[in-house]
Assembly symmetry: C2
Homo-oligomer: 452 residues x 2
C-alpha cells in the first residue's frame, strides 16, 4: 500500500455557534497535543456562518471565516466537513451537498439524524464517504463508539438511557428538594439547561431522537422516529416522587431499547428504578447510558450530555477518527451504522399494549370500607399480581386517600383494562396513575443480588 | 489504494484458560453477528495450551488445538496472535516471538504489561506491528479505547479508578453489612472473586499494574510500576468505615492519576469519597473509572472488571479492531500507546510527601481534659487546618476515646510530621490513623454544587 505522506488534514465547519465554537477552541488550544498524538495537524480551513463578525473568543485567522458554504463544498483540500449549525432542513441540505461533493461528514445534530437520517445515511452510502456522529447522543459520553467498537462482538440485551439533561435536572430538583415541576423547570431555564420553549426536552422528544439514532447501531434495524412511544415528565406529580422514595425508588426519564423474543421495544417515558441501581444516582444535568450485554454484562457510561466543550470533545474525536482514515486513503473502516447500510431493514417497535414490566399504581379513593378489596379484585381478574401496598389515612382537609401498589410483572394492556374499570368505580375520585418500574427483585425469577 | 479482498482474518490464541475460553465462545457463538458487522469472518485458526484435552464447553474443531506454539508463530496465515495465558515470563517470551514473527498481538495480561511492557512495546514499535490491550484494565469497560479515541483531543486533569473487584467487593461488604475484613475476604474467596493467595489484589498491586498501563496512554509519559505508591485495604478498620459513614463518606480503594503543575501523581490507596459522588455508589465486584477532562468535564465508565465473558468481550473488540486494519493492509492506525513510542519518556511520580489533599484523621486518646487542645495545637503548628471534628464519650469497657477530624487541604509531609509529634504524647494510646479524602466541598475554592 502506498501512503501519501500528508502533514495535515483540512476540515471545514458549518455553523459557528456554541458547539462549533467548542470544536474550534479544542482544535486550536490543544493543537500541539493533537499533533503529538497524530503526527500531523488538523487544520480548520474554513468556517461558514451567517454571522462572521461576532468574536467567539477563539484565536483564529479571520480569513477562514466565510458566509458562503461553497467555499467549503468546492474546496478540494477539505476532506472533512463538520456540521454544527443545528436545525433540520438547511442542515440536511448542506450535509447532502457536502456528501455529494465527496466529503466525509461529522455532525452533532440529533434532530437531523433522527428525522432526516435516512436520506443522509443513504447518500453517504452511495457516495462512499464516512459519517460520524458521536456527539449526537450523550454529548461527551463515548456511547456510539462503545456500541460500534467496544461491544462489536457482543449482543446487547437492553439499553436504559438518561439522555436528556434538562429532564434529569428537573427530576433531581423535584426529588432532592421537593420542588414542583414548574419551579424546577424555571430554574433549569435560568441556568441555561432548558430552552425558553422546553417542549422538545420535557416531552421526551429529544430523548426519542437519540434513541432513534442508536437503534441501527445496536441491532442493525431502523425504526421511524414517530413510531417510538414517547412520554415526557411534565405530568410527573411530586406525590409519586414521594411514594417512590418511601418504597426505595427514584423516578427518571429513561430511553429504553430492548431486544425481546416477540419484538423490539423502543420507548421513552418516566420509570421508577431502585436506589441500588447506579442509574438512580445519576443526578442534575448529567447523562448516563446503561447497557446490558449478553457477554459483557453491565456497562454504564456517564458524563455531560450537552454543553459547548463536552459536545465539542466528541465532535473532535470524530474528526480525528476520520482524519486517520483520510491520512491513509481509507474509507469506511467501520460502517457508519455498524452494519452494512443495505442490510438495515425498517421494523415497527412493539406496541405499548404488549410491554411486560412491573408497575407502580396509585389510586385516589374515597376513605370508605372495602376500597382495597374492590381495587385488588379488579386487578386480580385482570391477571395483575400485587407485590406490595401502601395505604395511609386521610390527610387533614383531604377528601380522598392514596392507595399505592407495586405489581409483579404484568402486561400493559391488562393494566389499562383494569384502570378503565377501576376508574368507573364511585369510590375512585380521580383518574388512576401508573408508572413503569424496572427492578429485578420483583421480576419473576429476578435475582435479589442484582444491583446494576 | 488496492485492497486485497479477504473473506476472513485468521487468529491464533495462546492460553485456553478462563479468558481464552471466553474469547473463543464469543467468536464462535456470535460469529454470524460479527460477520454481519464486518463482512468477513474471524477464524480461530489455532489454539495453543498445555492442556488440550479438557472440554471447555465450546464448539470447536479439535484440529485447531495444539501444544506447540510454533504452529501459531510460523503460520503465515495467522495475522493476529491473542495472548490469554497469564503469568509473566513465559507470556513475555511468547508475545515477543509473535511480534518478531510480524504478528499483531492482543493481550489481557496486565501484570505482563505493567512489569514487562517496556520490552513488548519496544519490540512492537521496532517490528511495526499493532498491540491492543483493552481487556488489561477494567475488563469489559472500554477505558483504553475511550482514552485513546474518545478523549484523543482533550487534556485529562485526573483519573480516579476502582479497578479491583476483589477489594471493592470486600469494602462493600464491610460497609453495607458491617463485616470484618477477614470475613469479607473469605466470602470473596468462596464466590471466586478473590484468589486463594489474595495478596496481589488486596495489597493494591493489581490496581497499580492497571494504573501503570494507562499512564502513557493518558499523558504520553511512562513510570516504573515500582514507583507507584501502593497501599492496599488489608489494614482498613471497620471503625473508620463507621466514622466515614457518619460524616457522609465511603472508603474505596482508588487508583489516582493526576497531572499537577509540580509533577505527576500516580498512587493507589484507600480514599474517602462523599456519598454524592457516583463513584462512591460503585459496589460489590463492579469496577468504574472516573475521568475529569479539561473540555469533556465528567466521564465515568462502569462495568464488570473481570470474568470470562466481560474480559472476553474486550479481547474480541481488540481482535476485531486489528482485523479491520489487517483487511485493509493498514497498521498502527492508532499508536498502541496513543503517542509515538519514541516520544514517551520515563518520569518519576511525585513523592507522597508532596501530595496535597484533604485528610481524615483519627486519634486514640485517653479520656482526659485538654486532649483536643493538645492535638489541634500540634496540627495548627504544622499548618493543618481542621474542617470538622467528632469527639465522642468513652464506650463501655474502653480505655480510650476516638477523636476524628476532617482537614482542609494539607500537605502529606505536614500530616506525617504532626503525627510523629502527636503519637509521642502520653495522652495518645495507639498510633494515629489517616485517610486521604477527595471532596470538592472542603477544598479551598471548592464548589459545593460539584457532585461528580
Amino acid at each position: 500500500m502506498v501512503e501519501k505522506k500528508m502533514d495535515c488534514v483540512k476540515i471545514g465547519l458549518i455553523g459557528y455557534g456554541t458547539v462549533g465554537t467548542g470544536v474550534v477552541k479544542i482544535l486550536t488550544e490543544n493543537s500541539s497535543l493533537i499533533k503529538k498524538r497524530l503526527g500531523y495537524d488538523i487544520v480548520v480551513e474554513k468556517i461558514c456562518d451567517i454571522d462572521i463578525s461576532t468574536d467567539r473568543g477563539v484565536k483564529i485567522d479571520k480569513s477562514v471565516l466565510t458566509t458562503d458554504i461553497n467555499e467549503i463544498i468546492n474546496d478540494p483540500e477539505i476532506s472533512i466537513v463538520v456540521e454544527t449549525m443545528g436545525g433540520i432542513d438547511l442542515a440536511e441540505e448542506m450535509m447532502l451537498s457536502a456528501i455529494r461533493a465527496g466529503k466525509n461528514v461529522v455532525t452533532a445534530n440529533k434532530a437531523l439524524l433522527a428525522e432526516a437520517g435516512e436520506e443522509i445515511y443513504k447518500a453517504a452510502h452511495e457516495v462512499g464517504v464516512d459519517i460520524n456522529f458521536e456527539a449526537s447522543v450523550g454529548g461527551g459520553i463515548p456511547i456510539i463508539r462503545t456500541l460500534k467498537e467496544g461491544l462489536v462482538g457482543d449482543k446487547v440485551e437492553f439499553i436504559f438511557g438518561i439522555t436528556n439533561g434538562t429532564c434529569n435536572y428537573i427530576l433531581t430538583r423535584m426529588t432532592e428538594d421537593g420542588m414542583a415541576f414548574a419551579q424546577a423547570l424555571k430554574e433549569a431555564q435560568e441556568l441555561g439547561y432548558a430552552e425558553s420553549d422546553p417542549t422538545l426536552d420535557i416531552e421526551g422528544l429529544d430523548s426519542a431522537h437519540k434513541l432513534a439514532i442508536i437503534i441501527p447501531i445496536t441491532y442493525g434495524v431502523k425504526v421511524d422516529y414517530e413510531d417510538i412511544y414517547t412520554e415526557g415528565i411534565s405530568k410527573v406529580d411530586p406525590i409519586d416522587i414521594k411514594f417512590a422514595d418511601e418504597m426505595g425508588y427514584k423516578i427518571k426519564l429513561l430511553s429504553i431499547l430492548k431486544d425481546t423474543k416477540d419484538g423490539l421495544e423502543a420507548r421513552v417515558h418516566p420509570v421508577m428504578i431502585p436506589f441500588r441501581y447506579l442509574l438512580s444516582n445519576v443526578n442534575f444535568n448529567l447523562n448516563a447510558i446503561y447497557i446490558r450485554g449478553e457477554a459483557v454484562g453491565t456497562i454504564l457510561l456517564y458524563g455531560q450530555g450537552a454543553g459547548m466543550m463536552p459536545t465539542g470533545t466528541a465532535v473532535v474525536s470524530d474528526i480525528i477518527e476520520l482524519s486517520r482514515n483520510v491520512i491513509s486513503g481509507r474509507k469506511k473502516r467501520v460502517p457508519p451504522l455498524s452494519f452494512d447500510y443495505a442490510d438495515i431493514k425498517k421494523v415497527t417497535p412493539k406496541s405499548m399494549d404488549d410491554i411486560v414490566t412491573n408497575y407502580y399504581l396509585r389510586f385516589s379513593a374515597l376513605d370508605k370500607p372495602g376500597v382495597l378489596s374492590k381495587i385488588s379484585g379488579i386487578l386480580g381478574d385482570a391477571n395483575i399480581s400485587i407485590a406490595s401496598v401502601i395505604q395511609k389515612g386521610r390527610g387533614a382537609g383531604e377528601e380522598d386517600v392514596p392507595v399505592v401498589m407495586m405489581t409483579h410483572e404484568a402486561k400493559e394492556s391488562d393494566i389499562r383494562k383494569a384502570f378503565d374499570e377501576i376508574d368507573k368505580l364511585d369510590i375512585i375520585s380521580k383518574p388512576s396513575i401508573f408508572y413503569r418500574v424496572e427492578d429485578t427483585t420483583i421480576k419473576r425469577g429476578g435475582r435479589k443480588d442484582e444491583w446494576r
